[in-house]
Symmetry: C2
Subunit: 198 residues, 2 copies
């Protein structure tokens, strides 16, 4: 029903996460309708991303340089290291504006079910970095799933004996959530991790 | 917070209709994570669409050839012409599979409010085509908005006197819709256009 090139573009859009047939059609038509110049600029930005961006040599966060802006920033607190599972988490924390320490980006989380082992997510690089620096605290900021817990426990274990505080960000009921929509695992965790009112 | 090239790509995605900041970020990251080869193929399909697709010389529908597949198909009913406002409408009707006539794609709808006049949407080309062919019926398949009604009335007027049936697709309550969610204009129209039960 579509000319071949348009069909190919629709299929291309459909291969993006969360894009279904209808949205892909809408996007493909908007490429068709857009100025050639604008589409050219979009294509260039896509090429740029593939060519220029790579992991920071120190922390694995995305950068166009050898060392990312966060690792290069000497004004940040060099004694705290926040370990995250992907570069998007760094962005989320940076957006908060309240964390001023360093980051280390893992290549995902340990998942024995999917055959993802500690060496696959770059634990060695993390361990070397921690040993070569004088961090006072390692904050594990991974999601509270089986994989996240496994990864956190593994890191906690290999850091055993080092003069460090190893912490994990809190799980519980999201602020503003309605109790009735909270799943039972989250509720159970919130109960277990209850805190004294001070 | 993002490397410049990634920020540019996110902005690029945001310029698509219906794509907000979060979705744009997700799409940009998936470009970053995708195989370079796959991104290359996607870029090529985008270039192809801009280079190969143009309006059919007869009906304005999208095609990679001079004449589109529908206009070239001699097995279709050459006596019925369905007038639509854009190429997407052709796709919608073709998907039904029940319409076997020809199409004519306007370049949008007449809108005095936005300064879009009959000559802007290619009414001349439509009129010439109708005069040069032996259509028995012209079906106006434009949306039931002020612009759609204006366009339909205008076409009806300029075809006055020609030996043709000029019809318009029905407006009313969508099949399966809940009455309570129908807006008052649609309900009013459904009431006005009521049919005898046969």
């Amino acid at each position: 029903m579509y000319p071949e090139s348009l069909r190919n573009l629709i299929e291309g859009f459909k291969s993006f996460p969360g894009i279904g047939e209808k949205t892909a059609e809408r996007l493909a038509f908007s490429v068709l309708d857009a100025d050639t110049e604008k589409v050219g600029a979009f294509i260039d930005s896509m090429k740029d991303v593939k060519e220029k961006i790579h992991p920071c040599k120190i922390c694995n966060h995305l950068t166009e340089n050898e060392i990312c802006e966060i690792c290069s920033n000497k004004l940040r607190d060099q004694s705290t290291l926040c370990v995250v599972e992907d570069p998007r988490s760094v962005i989320l924390f940076e957006r908060l504006g309240s964390y001023n320490g360093m980051y280390h980006v893992l290549n995902g989380l340990i998942s024995p079910m999917e055959g993802i082992n500690p060496e696959d997510i770059g634990i060695d690089k993390l361990l070397s970095r921690i040993k070569e620096n004088n961090f006072k605290e390692i904050i594990l900021a991974v999601k509270p799933s089986i994989e996240g817990e496994t990864t956190a426990l593994y890191i906690k274990k290999i850091l055993d004996g080092l003069p460090l505080r190893v912490s994990k960000i809190a799980s519980g009921i999201p602020i503003g959530a309605d109790m009735e929509y909270i799943d039972s695992m989250t509720l159970e965790r919130a109960l277990l991790d209850r805190k004294n009112i001070e």
